[in-house]
């Protein structure tokens, strides 16, 4: 079975562009970063600043809204507007901000605990509503800020400070959650591949609608090398699947392997073997999230770990619908308000 690839038909999000040419340092605030040396957050910060510089986004039109966690300190380091809010609630504040201020570009920075534990409800709903905000979930599979308790993405049986003999909970898969929440843009990248991360940031920024990006992030203090098995430089080619819309799903050092549909899901086939013809072509715009879910669920060691944009479909945003319902000629007319105050019927007392 080979899936047909329809033409990519995304409507780009309005990106507010700066008047002058800006460089990375124009997006850096003068506040000293406070993450542990070696933390993956540093690289994400650098790629975000570079990524925004590439797009030449007007910093005054950008707002970073975060929750609480190590990751959520991010807005302080960006020379944009920002709110370091409360644990798990950033999607709500970002939604209200974006709906009140269509002209702003609103990014949410969150962690695995922030987005999937305390804020799980909000994540589902901001994605389902397709509010035009971009969500970057820094997944280190641990609670960093509170010093090393397990998180909703920690693997079953993981020994942490709050699970001294191993957790008894199965983890959530962030991409699967996002897809199940009807997200229109779902992608994954990781801290130690600057080019890929920048490219993913670009694509999320340009997506018209809610974008969800999981960024695998190393917490070298409480969960070191959580993703090293497949993201280390010497193994990535073999163990990661870099997805590109319209390209065959090939991986391996010499692109010698690919993914094909099997009776039970996806399977790995040799690119020059008898089943080569069955290798899937990635279609991020496919309306049905079926294959996207199968991709989201590929995990090491059985399968290569997908990176890149898994899904990107066009759909009206919440704001599009809302604006459609609000007449362009908004009320600014005293007579209208006066009429409203009078209601359906009045009577006169002489």
């Amino acid at each position: 079975m080979v899936l047909q690839t329809p033409p990519l038909q995304t409507v780009e999000s309005m990106i507010p562009i700066a008047e002058q040419d800006l460089s990375r340092k124009d997006y850096a605030s003068d506040i000293d970063t406070r993450w542990c040396p070696g933390c993956g957050d540093y690289s994400i910060l650098a790629q975000m600043q570079r990524g925004l510089a590439d797009l030449n986004v007007a910093p005054e039109k950008m707002v970073f809204v975060s929750g609480i966690g190590c990751s959520s300190r991010f807005p302080y380091y960006m020379n944009t507007y920002g709110m370091h809010s409360i644990h798990g609630r950033a999607p709500t504040i970002a939604s209200g901000l974006k709906l009140a201020r269509e002209d702003l570009m609103v990014f949410v920075i969150t962690g695995d605990g922030d987005a999937l534990s305390i804020g799980g409800n909000h994540l589902l709903h901001v994605l389902r509503r397709n509010v035009d905000v971009k969500i970057f979930l820094f997944n280190n599979r641990i609670y960093g800020l509170t010093k090393g308790q397990y998180s909703p993405t920690s693997e079953l049986g993981k020994v942490t400070k709050s699970s001294p003999v191993g957790t008894t909970e199965r983890p959530l898969n962030p991409l699967a959650v996002a897809l199940a929440s009807e997200a229109t843009f779902v992608a994954r990248s990781y801290d130690t591949d600057p080019q890929h991360l920048q490219a993913t940031i670009h694509r999320a920024a340009k997506h018209h609608g809610a974008a969800f990006v999981e960024i695998l992030q190393n917490c070298n203090i409480f969960n070191d090398r959580a993703f090293a098995d497949y993201t280390d430089r010497d193994v990535r080619d073999e163990r990661l699947l870099y997805l590109e819309h319209g390209e065959p799903m090939l991986f391996g050092e010499s692109k010698n392997k690919g993914l094909a549909v099997s009776a039970t899901g996806l399977r790995v086939v040799e690119a020059d073997g008898p089943d080569a013809g069955l290798i899937l072509t990635h279609d991020a715009t496919r309306p049905s999230p079926d294959v996207h879910q199968l991709l989201a669920r590929c995990s090491y060691p059985e399968m290569p770990v997908p990176m890149g944009v898994i899904r990107q479909v066009t759909a009206p945003t919440y704001g599009d619908y809302l604006d459609g319902q609000i007449e362009v000629q908004k009320f600014r007319n005293r007579a209208d308000v006066a009429g409203l105050l009078r209601g359906r019927s009045t009577w006169q007392v002489e």
Partner: protein, 627 residues
């Protein structure tokens, strides 16, 4: 049918057989499916057009459809109307319309002795009697002897009136509320015209149903006229209201109009984030229907999200509002604290209901005062206002919006179930008489962007310099971590935290310089002051005046500003030997007043889910005055 008069009511019968009264209170009670709220609202409309002052009290079960005929399913609507100005929907009704045994059983105890009882005798079947736990039929066992009673075959008469319209039995039977209404219109000399107009407007597209309702209404009216109900025919002359244009309004409607008007006066975009909860849902529902006024409503996934979106909108420079009831406030408290820390202009409407926990969702109480004052971690002062009447909800919203922006602070406005649902005549405000609302960030002119400091303060109000995103060169970050004075950077030093704690507290206190002083009705000083707040205004005002009529000299003052208090409150409470604070809670304002002013204030407290009883409060005032 029978009319028995077992007690002389003392009022003079005029030649036309119509008696004149100053004030009458009628309660309609029936099954939730009987259309009592509709009947009550139509009666209120007709009363408004007639020109009485009036006040209504709907009371309905939390269950949408409890089993028909059951006690749990009884719904009622009380209306008091008068030739004088009135301030409560009346304590006890003079007339009770009971559409079935359950309604009679639930409401009879409220009816004044000798009061008029209108019952639908058709509904007194053995099945219905059993559901209402009546061992025998009260219509025939003599237990109603203390009342004047009109037993009318409301169901059969209504069905007969619409007989030839070819309606289903169910639809024919449904017109019985209009029959009952027609009968009550005759009893109280109401004009049918407004209701006929309403039927046309509402059911015009269903001509058969419209006709059926009209006929039932006429039939009920004719029933009163042709049957010998002369001794029950009463007229309450129109009240002398201040001249002007009036409409009816409930508290929730007034909140809606207040928000839209405030957005207009402030030239801000209104954003209302909310999660449905009784009795606040109507605010969301009614605002959602007003998109053409530029209103953005957002039905959030929970109350936390609702306030989060409102904070986002406020941060963006809009009019950010969230509305809920007590349980929702509990969920919002962490985010409310974020608004305290970030010093953003946020409006929170709390339409209080009976608690704790889910409590009695459709019943009223004033039990959130301490929650909104103190229900947050840390020292977290914010501004608290409370409306005193349905119409006052409108003006207090304008106040809330004015203060939130002037002081860059969240403001909580307290209403409650009673205000939310009670309707009263309301003079339509003249927009030109309302002050524009100033939005400080708009007039901030920074000659040099280097000068901008997000936590620099206005020397007079101590409001911080709030600037929404979008202005080049002013990029800065805010958040829930403690802020350094002036710069707004994250700061942990002991001196700074003390200073910021003091500044946040002092800022709220300074609001007192920009709100009216507390006015006292009655002697400037003396023996007894009755101090009230919120929706009890009407009951307290009425009770105070009754005590005065009984010869007691006392003062009354009513608080609309709960935090901060008006600046003269300490002085006012010190000028009387006794202070009585009536509240529909166990003494929340009393606790605040005692703590702040060291006065030995006493309470009158009812926590019944019903509005304070003016009659019981009068007794308490008199008793306390005599102590």
């Amino acid at each position: 049918m029978t009319t028995t008069s077992t007690q002389a009511d003392g009022s003079a019968n005029s030649a036309a057989g119509i008696q004149e009264r100053d004030r009458v209170t009628v309660r309609f009670a029936g099954d939730s499916g009987d259309g009592m709220q509709l009947a009550g609202n139509r009666f209120a409309d007709a009363t408004a057009v007639f020109g009485n002052d009036f006040s209504t009290l709907p009371d309905f079960p939390a269950e949408i459809r409890a089993p028909a005929g059951s006690l749990a399913g009884v719904s009622s609507f009380q209306i008091s109307f008068s030739k004088h100005l009135i301030y409560t929907p009346g304590d006890e009704p003079d007339t009770l319309v009971a559409m079935n045994p359950a309604a009679l059983s639930s409401h009879l105890s409220a009816l004044a002795q000798g009061g008029l009882l209108v019952v639908n005798e058709d509904a007194f079947t053995s099945g219905n009697l059993k559901k209402a736990n009546y061992p025998s039929n009260p219509l025939s066992d003599g237990s109603l002897d203390g009342y004047r009673i009109i037993k009318a075959p409301i169901t059969t008469a209504a069905i007969a009136a619409v007989d030839d319209l070819g309606l289903t039995t169910q639809n024919a039977e449904r017109t019985k509320n209009f029959f009952a209404l027609g009968l009550v219109y005759w009893l109280y000399d109401r004009n049918l015209e407004p209701t006929l107009d309403w039927i046309e407007e509402r059911f015009g597209r269903l001509p058969n149903i419209a006709e059926a309702n009209r006929r039932a209404l006429y039939a009920g009216h004719a029933y009163g006229e042709t049957t010998e109900l002369a001794d029950a025919h009463v007229r309450v002359p129109p009240a002398v209201l201040k001249p002007g244009e009036y409409r009816t309004i409930t508290g929730n409607q007034a909140l809606v109009l207040g928000l839209i008007t405030a957005a207009h006066l402030a030239d801000l975009e209104l954003f209302y984030g909310s999660y449905p909860i009784t009795p606040a849902s109507d605010v969301l529902v009614e605002l959602a229907a007003l998109r053409e006024y530029g209103v953005r409503t957002f039905q959030a996934e929970d109350e936390i999200s609702a306030i989060g979106t409102a904070i986002g909108a406020a941060y963006g420079g809009g009019l950010g509002v969230t509305g809920t009831s007590g349980p929702g406030i509990a969920l919002k408290s962490e985010a409310l604290n974020l608004a305290v820390m970030t010093e953003l202009p946020l409006i929170v409407l709390d339409v209080q209901r009976s608690g704790p926990s889910t409590g009695m969702p459709t019943k009223t109480e004033q039990t959130d005062l301490l929650q909104v004052m103190f229900g947050r971690n840390g020292e977290s002062p914010l501004c608290v206002l409370a409306a005193k009447s349905p119409g006052d909800c409108f003006y207090m919203v304008l106040e809330a919006v004015r203060l939130a922006h002037k002081f860059a602070t969240p403001v909580v406005l307290l209403s409650d179930t009673y205000l939310a649902n009670t309707a009263e005549p309301w003079p339509v405000p003249d927009l030109d008489q309302l002050d524009l609302i100033e939005v400080p960030y708009r007039r901030t002119e920074l000659t040099d962007v280097e000068e901008f400091q997000p936590y620099a303060r206005d020397p007079e109000t101590l409001a911080r310099m709030f600037i929404p995103p979008g202005q080049a060169g002013l990029q800065h970050r805010i958040g829930g971590l403690e802020k350094a004075d002036i710069t707004g950077d994250v700061a942990y030093t002991p001196e700074n935290h003390q200073r910021m704690t003091d500044l946040r507290g002092e800022k709220i206190q300074r609001i007192a310089n920009f709100i009216p002083e507390l006015e006292v009705d009655g002697p400037e000083s003396g023996e007894l002051l009755v101090l009230s707040w919120g929706s009890t205004y009407g009951a307290v005002f009425t009770a105070v005046n009754e005590a005065r009529d009984a010869g007691y000299e006392l003062a009354h003052a009513h608080l609309q500003y709960l935090n901060p208090f008006p600046r003269n409150l300490g002085d006012v409470v010190s000028r009387y030997r006794k202070v009585l604070i009536p509240e529909a809670n166990t003494g929340q304002l009393r606790m605040l007043v005692r703590a702040q002013f060291l006065v030995d204030a006493q309470g009158y407290n009812e926590v019944t889910g019903q509005p304070l009883s003016a009659r019981l409060l009068t007794e308490r005032i008199v008793q306390y005055a005599n102590e």
